[in-house]
């Protein structure tokens, strides 16, 4: 790491290490919330919140220190597991850095969108009906878009979810906010519903 001024390191902290500020902010907010509680219920979480705050402040200080002082401390506080893993994953990390960041962000947004979408859809039209939509969208938007795969995966997952959760665990997977089992299941469930 090259020598840089405190201002530059501060900017780096804001732009690249935003997570540290976010976590610190959240911990401070929770400390403030815990101060509203009675002494006994707040003691336990407060001890750990303060510990977390100290850890985050130290992390911040290490990043703001000139590399001459900061880097040795950072090495000292690196997990042993990371050292073991780094030998094996070094090449992968390099590859990742070289990859297209925009494409990665797009894929990430689609994946998160699909998961949230499935959550919302399952609430509205039930898990059983949301499942084929989700599988098709996932395979076409994230994967190879193979039709045979889509059909096979949908059938296998539908059967598994239906028998494991619906039949064995009696979870109402066939009912949503907008649609109930009576609307569609009697067609092929022999009036069981």
């Amino acid at each position: 790491m090259s020598e840089s001024s405190v201002t530059e390191r501060g900017r780096e902290l804001l732009v690249e290490d935003w997570d540290i500020l976010l976590v610190t902010g959240f911990i401070i907010f929770m400390i403030y919330q815990s101060m509203k509680l009675n002494t006994i219920p707040r003691q336990f979480p407060l001890v750990f919140l303060i510990m977390g705050l100290v850890a985050m402040l130290l992390e911040m200080i290490i990043r703001l220190l000139p590399p001459k002082y900061g880097d040795p401390i950072r090495r000292l506080t690196t997990g042993i597991a990371a050292e073991m893993d780094s030998e094996l994953t070094e090449d992968e990390e390099e590859e990742e850095e070289e990859g297209e960041e925009v494409q990665e962000k797009r894929t990430l947004a689609i994946a998160i969108g699909l998961i949230v979408g499935f959550g919302v859809l399952s609430y509205l039209i039930s898990f059983l009906l949301a499942l084929p939509v989700f599988v098709a969208c996932s395979i076409f938007l994230l994967g190879e878009g193979d039709v045979k795969n889509t059909i096979l995966t949908t059938i296998v997952l539908l059967l598994l979810v239906y028998f494991v959760f619906g039949d064995f665990m009696n979870v109402p997977i066939e009912t949503g906010e907008w649609i109930s089992a009576d609307d569609y299941l009697p067609l092929f469930a022999g009036g069981r519903y």
Binding site: I40, T107, F168
Partner: protein, 492 residues
């Protein structure tokens, strides 16, 4: 001492057709899941967690214990066949396993790995059977302050699981603690951090958090690997799997040494399978007459790595079942399952035939993976060819339906998604999600001990430093937490 009567009762419970079929199926599913790169024991156990609601504790805990062992073994299959470890605990396995496949001895490598895994698991199981009940009885005599310190030792394991930054992992553990304290305070019943929300009054549900943190976050991570890893092709497996027996027998002293290393490392809070796997491999290489041949397809290397990682799974269950100190993420999930059944790790876990049911189930589960590993590992390995998009859909669907299944509450689905995003962000930014889970799972035990001790002492904090045992436990937790720093200071 093993009670013959309880052991007999346990046998009669296990040898009912229903549980036998469950063990058989779970062991096979565990091997298959373990073989899928990215799905480790913790994620597999999180996915199976919702299914345990509908079965009694003996069956639920047996399912989890069998799954733990078989997933750990399954990781070696992909390491040997496609040079990608199925679990972190098989990372050292590929160093000698894959070169064997490349020179046409894939089936032999699988055979060695299967027999080694079984041997390591058996040694660990014997240790678990002998030491766990003794430790459990010892736990009967300890007080509330000591219970608190034992849980703190478990939390200090964060130092062993931390990734790039110990400080970030400590913060992640603290976040886990804070999320676990949402809801009612365990002694006085006062609401904490609920923000006047009805949903938060009951607290954050363990299963929802586990599903979010392990499964959803991993599914998001899978979405980024789709293009990279699709099209994995399985090499032809040469040699005979049965010759694995002979190879392992010829290395019996190495097997014993690696079993001891694996079980001991597994029992160390936070050390886990990866450490056991690597440490055993390094020791085997350093004590070998031909260390330069390690990494080129040497059988001793494969045996050392595989014996140790399966031994470590059993080792991890010793402190988990007796003192609520998890050896790793999967052991933490196991503690979570115990707590969800209302069983507090410690003396309560050793009442009646329950522990023996678990031990016998683990044994049978291991026999299943031994047989199928030798006979059909090549077929199980086909699962590695499963496209990532299919895997992504399957994990998300099972996770979210599982989160919903617990209370038939759609808010749980939303919470699982939110925790998935939190987990992914933590992972991406270098915070340990295992540290978060340790904080979340151990908080109820730590806080109960903490508050009860303060009630007994009338609010005097000195109760936590009263007596030699309290001070020893406090120092042990401090030592464990600062171990990476001390280790580096010692080295320099």
């Amino acid at each position: 001492m093993v009670s013959a009567q309880l052991f007999g009762e346990a046998l009669s419970i296990v040898f009912e057709l229903e549980l036998l079929l469950i063990i058989f199926a779970v062991s096979l599913i565990g091997v298959a899941l373990g073989a899928l790169p990215g799905i480790g024991p913790a994620l597999a156990m999180a996915l199976f967690f919702p299914l345990t609601f509908v079965v009694p504790p003996e069956q639920g805990l047996s399912i989890m214990a069998v799954l733990y062992g078989s997933t750990a073994y399954g990781g070696s299959i992909s390491a040997i066949i496609v040079n990608v470890p199925g679990t972190g605990g098989s990372a050292a396995t590929l160093l000698d396993g894959y070169p064997m496949t490349q020179r046409g001895e894939g089936a032999k490598a699988i055979g060695i790995s299967t027999v080694s895994s079984f041997s390591g698991a058996m040694f660990g199981l014997i240790c678990l059977t002998v030491f766990a009940p003794t430790l459990g009885r010892w736990a009967l005599g300890i007080g509330q302050a000591q219970f608190f310190w034992l849980a703190v030792i478990g939390l200090s394991a964060v130092s062993a699981v931390s990734g790039r930054s110990l400080l970030k992992s400590i913060a992640a553990m603290c976040l886990g603690v804070v999320f676990a304290t949402i809801g009612m305070d365990p002694i006085r019943g006062q609401e904490r951090f609920t923000f006047d929300t009805f949903y938060l009054e009951a607290g954050m549900n363990l299963i929802v958090v586990l599903i979010g943190i392990f499964a959803i976050s991993q599914a998001i991570a899978f979405s980024l690997q789709m293009k990279q890893e699709d099209g994995t092709e399985i090499a032809e497996l040469g040699g005979s799997a049965m010759s694995g027996f002979k190879s392992v027998w010829n290395n019996k002293f190495g097997v014993l040494r690696s079993s001891i290393i694996g079980t001991a490392v597994g029992a160390i809070p936070g050390a886990g399978m990866s450490t056991a796997n690597f440490l055993s491999y390094i020791v085997a290489a350093n004590t070998s007459k031909n260390p330069e041949e390690f990494g080129t397809g040497r059988e001793e290397g494969l045996i050392a790595a595989e014996v140790a990682n399966n031994g470590s799974t059993m080792g991890a269950l010793i402190p988990a079942m007796t003192l609520a100190i998890p050896g790793g993420a999967a052991a933490a999930v196991f503690i979570g399952v115990m707590l969800s059944y209302g069983i507090t790790p410690g003396p309560q876990a050793f009442e009646g035939p329950l522990p023996y049911v678990i031990f016998i189930s683990i044994f049978l589960g291991d026999v299943v993976f031994l047989v199928f590993g030798l006979v059909a590992a090549g077929y199980i390995a086909k699962i590695i060819e499963l496209p990532r998009d299919v895997l992504f859909s399957s994990i998300v669907i099972f996770s979210l339906v599982g989160a919903f299944a617990m209370r038939n509450n759609n808010f749980d689905v939303g919470a699982a998604i939110i925790f998935g995003l939190i987990g992914y962000l933590l992972m991406r930014r270098g915070y340990s999600i295992i540290a978060f889970i340790l904080g979340f799972i151990l908080t109820p035990i730590a806080e109960k001990g903490f508050q009860r001790a303060l009630l007994i002492s009338d609010g005097d904090w000195m109760i936590f430093f009263d007596g030699a045992l309290n001070i020893a436990l406090f120092l042990a937790s401090l030592l464990l937490l600062s171990s990476p720093i001390l280790f580096r200071l010692y080295r320099t």
